[in-house]
Subunit: 130 residues, 2 copies
DNA sequence: GCTTGAACTTCCAGTTTCTGGAACCTTTAT
DNA sequence: ATAAAGGTTCCAGAAACTGGAAGTTCAAGC
């Protein structure tokens, strides 16, 4: 599969896919004509990258995440440690998103136009850091 | 409150807070000595920014989000439109995080060491884009 | 009151993560 | 055969920080 199709399937621009290859995040094999050639497995990884990046994981974190299900030679305990670490991060992110969601949906429901900026409920929700 | 305290409370480095002021995202008033002076309301906004950024919203999106609960003079229908737009984005992000979570937790539970790279369940989950 | 160190200020340069564009080659369609 | 579409590399620029220099202000101890 050419880079254009891989881009379409993964949701990443071709430019970005080439960049990821540049920095050694995901290299594709080449066809005889010199074009990059992506397997469906590559595309899965690209999708995975697209998501993880759009959710605020850094490229280095993505590298770790990818290594989790790409590296056959890694010690199982190792995998578990890194993965459960990432699980915690994901759970935190989910909680934060749900809190943001609560702020916004409350905004829509109750605070339109009149007393918004100082709405104590919003302040409360927005302040519920962790 | 000085920038150091604001940084501590918001979870953002002072450098980043100054940068946000540079680009007009959140400007603080100044004390007589020239130091930036943050109200608790400012700190709420900073916390809000910290979260939204770490969850993959761009600075411009954050600007929009902030305007939602900062702008008294905006038409209520306007606010609702932008906010429900953002709600959808947040819901998508939550769904994606939950999918990532499923991938990882399955990895931890079932695919350690032996048949990981081609584990069909992982492929399935990772491929479940939207 | 003086000094020292931490915290503040601005400014400029460098990093990360893309993104756009030029110049050129390959494939596909007419 | 030719034109358009899509691939290649390379280099430059943008977005969002981040580090460091040079100088000012504040708080604490002698």
């Amino acid at each position: 599969m050419n880079i254009g199709a891989a881009a379409e399937h993964s949701g990443l621009p071709a430019k970005t896919i080439r960049y990821y290859e540049d920095i050694g995040l995901l290299r594709a094999s080449r066809a005889m004509n010199g074009y990059r050639d992506y397997t469906s497995d590559d595309v899965h990884r690209l999708k995975f990258l697209q998501r993880a990046r759009s959710l605020g994981f850094t490229v280095e974190e993505c590298r770790q995440l990818l290594s989790l299900y790409a590296d056959k030679n890694r010690d199982s305990a190792d995998v578990k440690a890194i993965a459960s670490n990432k699980l915690d991060e994901i759970d935190t992110k989910i909680a934060q998103l749900q809190s943001l969601r609560a702020v916004l949906s409350h905004l829509i429901a109750n605070c339109h136009g009149n007393d918004r900026p100082d709405c104590p409920i919003i302040d409360d929700l927005a302040g519920e850091a962790h």
